[in-house]
Symmetry: C2
Subunit: 259 residues, 2 copies
Amino acid sequence: MEKFSTGREVRAAIRAGFRGPTAAFAPEYVQANLVAVPAEYAAEFRSLCARNPVACPLLDESAPGATGTALASEADLRRDLGGYRLWRDGRLAAQSAGAREFWRDDLVAFLIGCSFTFEYALTRAGLPPRHVVLGLNVPMYRTNVMLAPAGRLHGHLVVSMRPYPADDVERVAAITRPYVEAHGEPFWSGEPGRLGIHNLATPDEGDAVPFEPGEVPVFWACGVTPQAVAIESRLPYVVTHEPGHMFVTDRLHSERPVA
Amino acid sequence: MEKFSTGREVRAAIRAGFRGPTAAFAPEYVQANLVAVPAEYAAEFRSLCARNPVACPLLDESAPGATGTALASEADLRRDLGGYRLWRDGRLAAQSAGAREFWRDDLVAFLIGCSFTFEYALTRAGLPPRHVVLGLNVPMYRTNVMLAPAGRLHGHLVVSMRPYPADDVERVAAITRPYVEAHGEPFWSGEPGRLGIHNLATPDEGDAVPFEPGEVPVFWACGVTPQAVAIESRLPYVVTHEPGHMFVTDRLHSERPVA
């Protein structure tokens, strides 16, 4: 499962043409969601993160027009992720392997923590996520949980889901809880209807995964949440990653704050 | 409306027997919600605040058994608020003017920001809250908005409500937004059903307030939220303030961080 051992190797492979979700890649390294908004929305986006730190744990913010980040040397946020999306007026306007053609001098890039960051800890504990075992993208679902709005930005929480035996949920929660910059402990486990999710077989993003008998769905807040915000707030122009196709940083988990 | 000019004066009046909501008291001073939990729940409560900073902006945490706070000199959290509640196993077990008989050596007291803190700014801008004008307690409502849980602690958001003309909502939001330690900008305005509130005339806490033609309800996250958490999580033992009967600190707004 572990195809690359460092963020630098993952980014080099992507520059060389690799495409696909990055779960279990460079497993000791922090992975991140990308959201780039016009500078006139940057303060509101920063506030959205501060007000919703479980969904949007902010790892880094670039200067307007900058394409690098303090989280990785020699990185270019326009080409170091395996997939990009352009959102215009709340609608998906384009998908591309690179974002060079989408980038504007007024874009401010935000990097937000990702639950892939804690998957290695689950795997080491003998609790590998199903999508990792099966080589699928993690399933993600929009929910009915309202975010705390920030100015013109509002929307609902997006969650990722991993099935686990009901008896393991407490242990799974304890393992992911310390990863405060990667959504931390589960947001909910059990009945999906409580989050307004009606059919686990049809995720809004990523791939459906099969359940074994006795397993329950365990949901974590997801860094795709800002894409729901882009849609619901009808933002004029936003560049994001393709869900599951993360920016893999040079930072080891061990360097980042934990609870 | 302004009955006292400092937190010290309010606390002295309460020690002398004053009872009642503290809206518009000592208007330049920060007001706070009280939640005291057994020490074995303190880490989880601290995490609940960190994960839900809009509902639970943490101002101060005491040492186990301590009854003072860094936010006010010579304060005694067991008698400096105008009303207390004791919760046992998620049920309201007692209400009292003092908490001396409820306090235990293992209690850790948390002080959480309160929206009364920004009401003076609204009043100075010619937008006094209706409950202040009428001398009522602010109306508060439980919602269907799930909090991010923290260990054994989970629950739903509680909001306070103030009616404003639809045309003033943006200005009201701009005024309260900088008060990041007092819930900041509104959580929602307009249709109460979007928060799962079915009848504004029957608040869960505080007093109903009348609407004028053209006004809409404006909702802010509320520091009574931990009382909903105490209920929903069936916490064995929690001491809180009586909603609206706040701890008035020695801190001026101008000393506290803003956005």
